[in-house]
């Protein structure tokens, strides 16, 4: 599981780079990156939870 920690920096940096190509305001870049990061991580966790529950109980 430890390698899962490496998901966070690369995903966040990728989102920051993509946002930086679209706008210049640092606060806006950070805000949108964090928002996207939250959505992606949420989807990631929910998906993982669903797979865990299916494997555990079905």
């Amino acid at each position: 599981m430890s390698y899962m920690l490496l998901y966070f920096p690369i995903t966040f940096i990728a989102l920051v780079v993509i946002e930086m190509t679209k706008r210049d305001d640092p606060k806006e870049i950070l805000r949108r990156s964090l928002k996207d990061f939250g959505v992606m991580t949420g989807a990631f966790l929910i998906g993982g939870l669903i797979i865990f529950l299916i494997n555990r109980y079905l």
């Binding site: 430890s2 390698y3 490496l6 690369i10 940096i13 780079v17 993509i18």
Partner: protein, 289 residues
């Protein structure tokens, strides 16, 4: 390089009469470099080119002969009934294709007796073509409207963030460089400071060469295959490969973004994409010539 070629074809499509020579040179070196680079990924290409066609004639020689005939046909002026080299400059496809085929044939001939010698020829040509394409791009920057963006794209491909730096977005360029360098070095650290091998993952292998700098580092590390780092969990190895690849792929986005920067931005002004310039209200000064 193929992407570069496509961009320059697009940029020069309406300017052929003005810059046929530079455009041809650029396309020639780009296409040749791309062919040479791809052939280094697939050494079997040399074997294929040396494969006998019929009666001892190799496929490579056959291609060279056909291409020579095509070049001659393209240079022939039916009106004056003479061969005119100048006509080749008007036919953009001829020179790049001719150079690419001749290079392939030369490399195949070198590889017939010694495959490694053929590969060295390919590597040398690919490197030379990269350098020449950069020179030609700089030349195009002065000759073609919008060429400065192309130069920024190429420079941005060579060094992450350098395209933005060149176009006046210095802070952004430095941040891009810092982010990608960090990702790349951390990925290399996880993979024991070796390059991603083709056997590890073909996609990651190509992806890691998303910038000239990573290509240079690969050359300095002698393209040795990556291996798990001692003292770290084995599962981190694949992630290390991903980091190395991600640094290269993200640079493509950054380099392409440099194409969108219209002019060196004054300090504090918003980006072009965020706030496009209003249409001109005064008519342009007419009658330039």
């Amino acid at each position: 390089m193929l992407l570069q070629t496509g961009i320059v074809v697009w940029l020069t499509s309406g300017e052929r009469a003005k810059v046929p020579l530079l455009g041809n040179i650029y396309l020639a070196v780009s296409l040749t470099g791309a062919v040479a680079f791809l052939s280094t990924l697939y050494p079997r290409l040399v074997d294929l080119l040396n494969a006998p066609l019929r009666g001892g004639l190799s496929v490579g020689l056959f291609l060279a002969v056909v291409q020579g005939a095509l070049v001659a046909a393209a240079a022939y002026n039916s009106k004056t009934k003479k061969f005119e080299a100048g006509l080749l400059l008007e036919k953009f496809w001829v020179l790049p294709a001719a150079v690419a085929v001749v290079v392939l044939w030369l490399a195949a001939r070198a590889g017939r007796e010694d495959v490694e010698a053929g590969m060295r020829v390919m590597h040398g040509l690919a490197s030379a073509c990269v350098m020449l394409s950069i020179i030609a791009t700089v030349g195009l920057a002065f000759a073609v409207p919008g060429g400065r963006q192309v130069a920024a794209y190429v420079v941005g491909w060579m060094v992450p963030g350098a395209g933005h730096f060149m176009m006046g977005r210095r802070h952004k360029g430095l941040i891009f460089f810092g982010l990608l360098a960090g990702v790349y070095v951390f990925g290399l650290f996880l993979s024991n400071f070796r390059m991603v091998g083709f056997e590890d993952n073909p996609f990651y292998y190509v992806g890691q060469f998303g910038s000239g700098l990573t290509l240079l580092v690969g050359g300095l590390l002698e393209f040795e295959k990556a291996s798990p780092r001692a003292g770290l969990p084995l599962s981190w190895f694949d992630v290390g490969l991903l980091y190395v690849c991600a640094a290269g792929l993200l640079n493509y986005i950054i380099a392409l973004n440099a194409l969108e920067i219209r002019a060196p931005a004054a300090r504090g002004t918003p980006s072009v994409s965020a706030a496009p310039e209003p249409p001109a209200t005064t008519p342009p000064a007419g009658g330039s010539s």
